[in-house]
């Protein structure tokens, strides 16, 4: 968007570009990013009794529900991993994806008012959502570690120490990038066609059943397993459990598929977002 034209610092024309912002411009807005992350946290826990404890409470309550429904009632096997750890690992990674996606997909709809009054690189908004979710994930991750330590002392759960642990940052980044990519695309679509909001909400709920959150991939019969493996999130969840809990079904091609898919999705989404972002202000 900013181009040096002879002696001019900037030019505003009718063409929108794919590479809207220079890194320098984005860097100039780092304080806004930090401020927005801070605001997300403050707003979430304003006037609540438990405050930030909700970050831990929410997965705990979900865990209790899953334990009751899927473990006790339905009786899905979690292999040799204690069900609590199995579900908790799935829940926190899924929450990270789910909250990042729903948060970013409503970017234009939610911030139309601000966007129509002041200029800043629009991408800051969704990135601030992802950053917030990343911080929440980090806190919940520590909770998972505590649970693992507890289990290794009381229930004889063997703490896996292996080289897979090194993949965890990449798993988290990949899941974050995937949700950002999907979120950016849907933020453009929901701004233009409101039907997409419903589709996004429904889709993400259904997607959870195609992701090994409540079941290990190994329990899925071979003939329908491809359906679950088509989901680029699947290898990440399996890899996450393998690294953390020592059990998971992975194969190199599926991991490469997941990485490649995310890369293409995020690149495409980023370009679409930049290209469409300025035009959308007219119609949201």
């Amino acid at each position: 968007m900013i181009k040096a034209v002879n002696s001019w610092d900037w030019e505003i024309g009718n063409k929108t570009s794919f590479w809207s912002h220079t890194l320098k411009e984005l860097w100039a807005f780092r304080h806004l990013l930090a401020g927005l992350v801070r605001r997300h946290f403050l707003l979430n826990y304003q006037q609540t009794v438990l405050g930030p404890l909700w970050i831990l409470f929410q997965p705990t309550l979900t865990l209790a529900t899953y334990l009751l429904v899927f473990h006790k009632l339905v009786g899905i096997s979690t292999g040799s991993v204690p069900p609590v750890l199995f579900y908790l690992a799935g829940i926190i990674l899924w929450n990270f994806f789910n909250d990042s996606f729903t948060g970013t997909s409503s970017t234009f709809k939610e911030h139309a008012h601000v966007f129509s009054k002041v200029y800043f690189p629009r991408i800051i908004m969704p990135v601030s959502v992802i950053s917030t979710q990343l911080l929440r994930f980090a806190i919940q991750f520590i909770m998972l570690l505590c649970a693992m330590v507890f289990y290794s002392f009381t229930r004889g759960f063997s703490f896996p120490v292996n080289s897979w642990l090194l993949t965890i940052p990449f798993i988290v980044l990949n899941v974050g990038a995937f949700s950002l990519g999907l979120g950016l695309i849907f933020s453009v679509l929901t701004a233009k066609y409101r039907d997409m909001t419903n589709l996004a909400n429904l889709g993400v709920r259904l997607l959870m059943f195609l992701t090994p959150v409540i079941y290990p991939l190994a329990t899925i019969p071979e003939n329908v397993r491809w359906l679950v493996q088509l989901n680029p999130l699947t290898p990440m969840f399996e890899l996450f459990r393998l690294a953390m809990l020592g059990e998971g079904t992975i194969a190199l091609p599926s991991i490469l598929y997941s990485l490649g898919f995310t890369f293409l999705l995020l690149t495409g989404a980023w370009l679409l977002f930049n290209k469409q972002g300025d035009k959308l202000i007219d119609i949201v």
């Binding site: 900037w10 403050l42 409101r194």
Partner: protein
Amino acid sequence: MPDTVIKVEQLSKVYRLGTIGTGSFKQDLQRWWNTAFLKKEDPFFQLQPGNTAAGNKDFFLALHDVSFEVNQGEAIGIIGRNGSGKSTLLKIISRIVRPTQGRVLGKGKVSSLLEVGTGFNLELTGRENIYISGYILGMSKAEVRSKFDEIVAFSGVEKFIDTPVKRYSSGMYVRLAFAVAAHLEPDILIVDEVLAVGDADFQKKCLGKMREVSQASGRTILFVSHNMQAIKNLCDKALWLNQGKMQVFGGVSEVVNKYLSSTQQSKFKQQWEVPEEAPGNDKIRVKSIELIPQLENPEAALDIRTPLQVKFQFWNLQDDVLISASILLFNLGGECIFDLPSPATRGQKGLLEGECTIPGNFLNDGAYYISLHFLKDTSVPLFDFEECLTFELEDYRGDIQWYGKWWGAVRPKFPFQLKQTNTCLQDQLQVDLI
């Protein structure tokens, strides 16, 4: 040669009208198909007058072929009626919306203030909001921190700075929000009608701050307002937009005067050739009534300094009556400002003429109408000619640095003196205080 910092070239903006939702997907596909494969011209981008965009009911031409240049340190006022494209222009220069055609070139950092309190969140405290709103407007953390105390002092909400702004009064909210924006230090400041909020005292403070920004520190300002006094006081040049087109661009007083005289919806003269068609009855028929402002420059708008001459002629259809006429001046609210009777005159059948001058520096600014009443024997109504003239007086403040609405039905300039009579009071005061 002054440095040009903003160059606007043939800027146009088209908006699509109607509901965008059902059918828009189909339209999008059609457009895409037409432009990408059939290589037809996109109807959305044809802007020639009378062509699809201008004539089509689905499109609205918000800006049409606007070009101008702004030099470093200039303050430009943008004026025009509601819907004339002022805000669209500011939004394009602020990079919020894209033009449909044309481009804007510029130098330096731009900050825009199109609304008071952009990015404010009701749940957060004043302190948090100062920071987040500062960041959104483009300040860095260090900048906000260094100006924090100044911002708080300017807004006058020290006591409530750690209270969520949802518990603020609306005045406090506006003051805090403007205070943040007032401490921006961009090269180019873009301000939309934000001064319409807040009390008069605060408006004065804001304008003072803006003058400081433009004159003391040499920044460039684009300023939209309906307050012509503020525009005249603050700006060097003005741009008048009319239905998206640039009407005049030039020196501020010239443009403002032209704009004002065009907006005055006035009835200055009415006349009839024959008594049969003229308003009246079997006793009185009005031939003509005219308002003649005593202006040195006929182009200029009427303001409160302008003396107004009222002239009228009427046919008297009765012989030998004691006749008098009254000029009644009403403000737009229908309140009578004065009822001024003429001396009674013994009149015969035929034409009579009256004349009266309302002095300048007497009426307050606003819209007025005049009614003419005719009386017999100074008490019996003959004919009432209601609302025969209407006019509007613009404000004029001269050196007075106050832009709020001036109170009062009239604003006379009676002789008024204030002088020092004694300088030795100092000692007495001190004695009293001890």
